[in-house]
């Protein structure tokens, strides 16, 4: 989390179409084209992009593959476990074999690869939904606070301060006692879906202030520009000014904060699983797979290692992608 805030704060408050055209590029390229070109030249960012793109595709494929039975994250394979050793997989490396490429889960014998694969789907869905909630809230409130100023700005500012002063981990943990049940009753869904919805809502509700602060800062400079005056003079409605005039100038910081928030939520999901909050098995998430592997750390190290490694890869690649996008959009930044 700390890393992420520092990155957000170091964003330069330059509007999108600043003096980028003065760089030595050929005349006639739009700023976004220039950014894209800069991004393509950065090898590390391209690698990160490819990695992110590939597991996003894998995550999208997983539900289909589970449905047609290509991967089966739920089937028990007790015959592959050594009952004498307390349910540790037979064979070396946690029961790696042709049909179970990453071995099987101790205790149940479920296929590790299948569970992790399907787990990515759930983990990314939660992270994506939570990021959407926090981004939408943050952007809307940030624009309103920045543009309206005065009492509205002050009120939103106080609410931001208030939200940020809450001890986050404790609240994420403690609120589950009240809200999971409430969600379950209100929406009439099963426990696991309620757990998931709870996670998304709470992460979003505690995540929006950072986005709102960032956006507000940018809007403060945008609102002084002539095109806003023009829009006001032409009698544009508030909503039009917010979403048609201001918002298009904000997509750069929004995109960057989005790519940097996603990985933070993937880690948070894992951390919450460790604290017994969130989606529970048999539905796999990276967090609950990892949580389930703790007791086998010494007896089946690979089973303990793989889920953590996958989380690390997701976090690193998303962060590098976010850095790359920021560098590409902001010619002044320099790694």
């Amino acid at each position: 989390m700390t890393l992420q805030t520092s990155q957000l704060e170091s964003l330069e408050p330059t509007p999108v179409e600043s003096d980028e055209s003065s760089t030595k590029a050929v005349a006639g390229l739009s700023p976004s084209r220039l950014a894209l070109r800069r991004f393509r030249r950065d090898r590390l960012s391209m690698v990160a992009f490819v990695v992110v793109a590939s597991y996003v595709v894998l995550a999208l494929l997983a539900p289909i593959l589970v449905k047609i039975g290509f991967i089966d994250p739920f089937k028990f394979h007790q015959n592959l476990l050594d009952a004498n050793l307390g349910g540790i997989p037979k064979g070396k490396f946690g029961g790696v074999s042709g049909s179970h490429l990453l071995g099987v889960e101790p205790g149940t014998g479920r296929d590790v690869l299948a569970r992790m694969w399907y787990g990515v789907t759930f983990s990314l869905t939660i992270a994506l939904a939570a990021t959407l909630v926090s981004s939408v809230l943050g952007v809307v409130l940030g624009i309103i606070a920045g543009f309206r100023g005065g009492l509205i700005d002050a009120t939103i500012g106080r609410v931001i301060d208030l939200t940020l002063s809450f001890p986050q981990t404790l609240m994420l943990l403690a609120l589950s006692t009240v809200f999971v049940l409430a969600i379950q009753n209100a929406l009439n869904v099963n426990v696991n879906l309620a757990n998931g919805i709870y996670e998304v809502l709470v992460l979003g509700l505690f995540g929006w202030p950072t986005v709102a602060r960032l956006i507000r800062g940018q809007v403060l400079s945008i609102r002084e520009r002539e095109f806003i005056d023009a829009a006001v003079l032409l009698g544009a409605s508030q909503r039009r000014i917010y979403f048609k005039e201001i918002l298009p100038n904000l997509w750069a910081p929004i995109l960057v904060s989005f790519t940097l928030t996603m990985p933070a939520y993937v880690s948070t999901e894992a951390a919450l699983s460790f604290l017994n909050v969130g989606i529970k098995p048999p539905t796999p998430t990276l967090g609950n797979i990892l949580d389930g592997s703790i007791n086998y750390a010494q007896s089946d190290f690979l089973f303990f290692f793989f889920p953590a490694l996958l989380i690390a890869i997701i976090v690193v690649s998303f962060n590098l992608l976010g850095d790359g996008i920021r560098d590409a959009l902001d010619p002044k930044s320099d790694r």
């Binding site: 700390t2 890393l3 805030t5 520092s6 990155q7 170091s10 301060d161 208030l162 940020l164 002063s165 809450f166 001890p167 981990t169 404790l170 609240m171 943990l173 403690a174 609120l175 589950s176 006692t177 009240v178 049940l181 409430a182 990985p263 880690s267 894992a270 951390a271 460790f274 604290l275 017994n276 990892l290 703790i294 750390a297 010494q298 953590a308 989380i311 690390a312 890869i313 976090v315 690193v316 962060n319 320099d334």
Partner: protein, 332 residues
């Protein structure tokens, strides 16, 4: 002064929000006090004695009053006179009474605080020293293998989940290979050496997580300062490199580092929930986990308020430090 006032207002607001969130019904915190065979009548009586029958806002009012004046459970003056042993007192600042643990919340917090504080302070020293040191090295060796290595490794530590790193340390460094003792908290006053030895793994876990941000930030600011005119001046007048680095370059990056460090520390003093659970340390974090597990609402609310107080205090201290470090800033 204005800031402290605003901070207190904020805390009062936060306690209200927390009370409404947790005490609006749905949960039955009085259940634990009533014992195993709890008849509905007894249940009602317990509920009344603990004050849980009133609306959340009224309970919040009593909580506020308690923090200033202290309170008694049950709030019944006649009973207190007739049979003092049936009444439990909670002196100011009273944060409530934990039915589950049958103590005052403030006592619980007082017991757990030294553990969390030790952990936080040691981790803090490690990550500041490590973060600034490696950040400077990376900046000086910019673009080389050393630079990439430092940035890469810190990113890797940042990327693995905290509890996984902690468990890895615990299960392998402490249990399997026995390089470090299996951590358990020892009082500083009992044995300073054992205190330190036992704290190495947990605080290292915390420090590694936090360090990544500091390495990156130090590196970025030192690099940025290299381009500044005053640095060229310093070099031009023939100052030794070390002096240029420490007095001119690092000095400029001090403000953002202090900001971030102050806020991180403020949040951490309130207990590292995950690290404490991993290493079984009975600090504020572990207290929080326990109170959630046992639905110990008074403790949860008390903890939220205490931790928020730390965070708000850290904000104020950072603001004041700003003015000390950077003479251009004036306290508003």
């Amino acid at each position: 002064m204005r800031r402290i006032f605003a901070g207190v207002i904020m805390l009062i607001l936060m306690s209200l929000v927390t009370y409404v969130l947790f005490f609006s019904g749905g949960l039955h915190p009085e259940r634990a006090a009533c014992g195993k065979n709890c008849s509905p009548a007894q249940w009602e009586q317990t509920k009344k004695a603990l004050g849980y029958d009133k609306p959340a806002v009224v309970q919040w009012g009593e909580f506020l009053k308690g923090t200033v004046a202290g309170r008694t459970y049950p709030e019944d003056k006649a009973l207190a006179k007739a049979n003092p042993s049936l009444v439990s007192t909670c002196p100011a600042p009273c944060l409530g009474y934990s039915v589950v643990n049958t103590t005052n919340v403030s006592t619980e917090v007082k017991t757990a605080f030294p553990v969390s504080f030790s952990l936080a302070i040691l981790a803090f020293i490690m990550w500041i020293v490590g973060g600034v040191f490696f950040g400077v090295i990376a900046a000086l060796r910019r673009g080389t293998v050393v630079d990439r290595g430092i940035v890469g490794v810190s990113l890797i530590f940042y990327a693995f989940p905290t509890f996984w790193i902690g468990l890895f340390f615990l299960k392998f460094f402490a249990i399997q290979w026995q390089i470090f003792p299996v951590p358990s908290y020892v009082n500083l006053t009992d044995s300073p050496l054992a205190w330190l030895g036992n704290l190495v793994l947990p605080s290292l876990t915390l420090a590694l997580i936090y360090m990544a941000g500091y390495v990156r930030m130090t590196r970025a600011f030192v690099l940025e300062s290299f381009g500044e005119d005053y640095l060229r001046t310093a070099r031009a007048k023939g100052l030794p490199n070390r002096r240029v680095l420490v007095k001119h370059s690092l000095r400029a990056s001090l403000t953002p580092i202090v900001t971030m460090a102050g806020l991180d520390f403020g949040a951490l003093v309130g207990g590292a929930i995950i690290t404490e659970s991993v290493f079984n340390y009975d600090g504020l974090g572990a207290l929080a986990v326990d109170s959630v597990r046992t639905l110990d609402l008074p403790t949860i609310v008390g903890l939220v308020v205490v931790l928020a107080a730390f965070i708000i205090l850290a904000n104020i201290v950072v603001d004041i430090l700003y003015a000390v470090i950077d003479p251009r800033v004036r306290l508003g």
